[in-house]
């Protein structure tokens, strides 16, 4: 049967053969990660383009419109056309910008979020680098976006951009806390930080963590939406208040990088949600007869979670900045701490000390 592991192994075999033919087998450990990163980069770029199209179609459907339908079948190539437009258009720069940070900010925004994809297991063994501290790595690396946004807001030398940057700093730092706390129960139960390990635990246990950890799942999805600056938490770029927020002064490719970064952040947080709470590459129980490969299951779950996040955006009004802080500190954090305590108590009661 076609599984992610088989594919990875056959590709690795092919590469090893190529290396031996070229006589560079010694460099395999150096070249392989580069190749897998490039493959991941290509995949994520295409996937994000699909997501942008999907978002426009979802919003069009919700708003009783048609959405893009001119370029390519079902308008699928609309995003490609947009990307070409963005890359070829003039790069308008504010005169009084802070030059170096202004250039670096979109790169950080894009790279930091993309790096998160590196540890996501699409299938058993189908992962760029299975770190044993995977979940910590993702939380740390996606936290970099706040630097990018703050830098962008500051260096643009625009009052709206600065307000957006400050808002973003406050928001991302506040929502990082419940995000991490909501993951803690899973780590307590599984005893591993590796994403692959967490999925394997769910396979062995026979249930997904969304069932015992529904509270953690809701907190995670909420804070992840806030982390990705998506509505109803999109106050850093609040269109009706701050025009474009931190990316008001960015155009062309630089804007495209922020835009891609936002979507990749959605992909990363949804992928983590799928891995932690929805059983990663495991098949849906009552559809097990379908015998689909693991990575197809993963993608189905991923797109479903992303659909939910998109539906949020087109349904809810935006919170105000102080209400956003209140919600994070007074609702999400107490609940996630309570969730940790309850989980610990229940697991101690059920399995006794040192249960693994």
């Amino acid at each position: 049967m076609l599984t992610g592991e088989n594919i990875v192994q056959s590709v690795a075999g092919l590469l090893n053969w190529v290396y031996s033919q070229l006589g560079i087998s010694a460099l395999a450990g150096f070249i392989n990660p580069i190749i897998s990163s490039v493959v991941m980069f290509g995949f994520i770029s295409v996937f994000v383009m699909f997501l942008v199209w999907m978002e426009r179609k979802v919003s069009a459907h919700m708003q009783s419109r048609i959405g893009p339908n001119r370029v390519g079948p079902f308008g699928l190539l609309q995003t490609v056309a947009d990307a070409i437009k963005l890359t070829t258009k003039e790069d308008v720069k504010p005169v009084n910008r802070d030059k170096i940070p202004y250039y670096i900010a979109p790169i950080i925004a894009f790279v930091a979020t993309f790096m998160g994809m590196v540890v996501i297991p699409f299938d058993k063994g189908m992962v760029v680098q299975d770190l044993n501290v995977g979940i910590l790595y993702i939380i740390a690396i996606t936290g970099f976006t706040v630097i990018a946004i703050l830098t962008a807001g500051w260096s643009s030398n625009n009052k709206f951009a600065l307000l957006g940057g400050f808002r973003s700093a406050a928001q991302i730092i506040s929502y990082e806390v419940p995000l991490v706390l909501s993951v803690v129960p899973i780590i307590m139960i599984t005893g591993t930080l590796s994403l692959t390990g967490i999925v394997e635990y769910q396979e062995k246990a026979g249930y997904w963590f969304i069932f015992p950890q529904i509270v953690a799942f809701l907190i995670f999805i909420t804070s992840a939406t806030a982390e990705a600056n998506r509505a109803p938490f999109d106050i850093p770029e609040a269109e009706s208040e701050l025009i474009g927020g931190f990316h008001t002064e960015y155009s062309g490719v630089k804007f495209a990088m922020f835009f891609l970064g936002e979507y990749i952040a959605v992909v990363v947080s949804s992928a983590v949600a799928v891995t932690l709470f929805l059983g990663g590459w495991l098949p849906v129980a009552f559809l097990g007869f379908l015998h689909l490969p693991g990575f197809i299951w993963f993608m189905i779950k991923l797109v479903s979670v992303i659909y939910v996040v998109m539906a949020f955006r087109w349904t809810f009004p935006r919170l105000r900045v102080d209400q956003l802080m209140d919600f994070g500190w007074k609702v999400l954090i107490p609940f996630s701490i309570l969730n940790i305590l309850v989980t610990a108590a229940v697991w101690l009661f059920l399995y006794g000390k040192g249960a693994q």
Partner: protein
């Protein structure tokens, strides 16, 4: 560098570093100001210290132009005063001129005027609902509002050929009679539209985030509202009965059964609720009008050149979609008004903006501005 920093520290003093107000210029081009209103906002972090509207970016001196045009020509200019609710302004001017010259429009024209003005109120409130929700961050209701507005505009287009600036309500009647299929189409629209209002309410009214953003925000105290000259739905949200249709009925509003929608809290949510309820009342008024529409002439017999008597003077007011719309005219015996002055609801409603936003956050400016239903050409004229 250290010296520079230290020099800003007062020894033992309260202020350590020189702080400055953060002055942000919202507009004239800004997504939330619905046109070219400019707001100079002084901020302390996110908190608003002062909001100062700067007017005049859409000033076209319509009042002066009208003094150099004949009375029928002025109607076209009144369209441009409030392009979202052009029928109401047409009506305001037509009624004022008719009173000035003692012209009585026939009954059919009056009924048609009522139907069209109430349809216009629906269209205007729909656009307002979408824009208000958009200001708060919900983009979807805007499309729903426009979807229904489109069908109203189709009805207008069917009758007078225009979709935005109609020039339909004329002195002494209306421009042209409705087509025979107008009445069934209008009824069909009303049947389609009535449940839609409940749908919008399902989407917004008790949405927790919407409540957070609008409940208790931008409260107009009744006495503040009256002193500042706030009118229309914005004042009715503060619990004051001020609907000109009830207080000083014009056309045949005294024969209509409808409620004056009043909420008491005076916040953004109340103003929203007043307008939503008003849509339902408008539907009921249109139904009654369609019921009583009688055949007859659609325009009065009038002299070829309309002249107001020397020294005649009139202030006539109606309830437009945004509030009280007053027209003041002075005649001097010629075919042109000696003086024309429009009293527009948006302009007087804007007075309270600074009071309502002081001490609130930046995002509340948009919520309050949206809830006042301001439109820039009415402010500047």
């Amino acid at each position: 560098m250290t010296d520079l920093l230290l020099s800003q520290v007062k020894v033992g003093g309260e202020s350590q570093f020189g702080t400055d107000e953060y002055v942000v210029n919202l507009g004239p081009q800004h997504p939330a100001t619905h046109g070219v209103l400019r707001l100079i906002v002084k901020l302390d972090g996110e908190t608003v210290k002062e909001t100062m509207p700067v007017l005049g970016y859409l000033h076209r001196s319509i009042e002066k132009i009208c003094e150099n045009r004949t009375y029928p020509q002025c109607i076209t200019y009144t369209d441009r005063i409030d392009y979202v609710s052009a029928m109401s302004v047409n009506l305001a001017f037509a009624l004022a001129t008719e009173k000035l010259m003692n012209i009585e429009a026939p009954a059919r024209a009056q009924w048609l005027r009522m139907i069209f003005v109430e349809l216009q109120r629906l269209a205007s409130h729909l656009l307002w609902m979408g824009a208000f929700a958009g200001d708060i961050g919900a983009l979807t209701p805007f499309l729903y509002g426009l979807r229904e507005r489109e069908r109203i505009l189709d009805l207008f287009e069917m009758t007078c050929g225009q979709r935005l600036t109609y020039n339909y309500i004329r002195i002494g009647g209306v421009m042209i009679d409705i087509l025979p299929e107008f009445v069934p189409k209008c009824r069909a629209f009303l049947d389609y539209f009535e449940p839609k209002v409940d749908e919008y309410e399902d989407l917004l009214t008790y949405n927790p985030i919407f409540l957070e953003r609008t409940k208790g925000v931008g409260i107009i105290a009744p006495e503040v509202g009256i002193n500042a000259g706030v009118c229309g739905p914005s004042l009715r949200g503060s619990g004051i009965a001020c609907d000109v249709r009830k207080q000083q009925p014009y056309l045949y509003y005294d024969q209509m059964k409808f409620n004056e929608c009043i909420e008491t809290a005076g916040d953004c949510w109340s103003r929203y609720k007043v307008r939503m309820n008003e849509m339902r009342e408008s539907v009921s008024i249109i139904r009654q009008c369609l019921e009583r529409l009688e055949p007859g002439s659609f325009e009065a017999k009038m002299p070829p050149v309309l002249k107001a008597p020397v020294g005649s003077e009139i202030y006539s007011r109606i309830e437009s979609s945004r509030g009280e719309m007053g027209v003041y005219l002075v005649g001097d015996g010629t075919a042109k008004p000696w003086k024309s002055k429009y009293r527009c609801a948006s302009f007087s409603n804007l007075y309270v903006l600074d009071q309502l936003t002081k001490g609130w956050k930046v995002a509340d400016i948009m919520a309050v501005l949206g809830s006042l239903d301001m439109i820039v050409p009415e402010v500047d004229r």
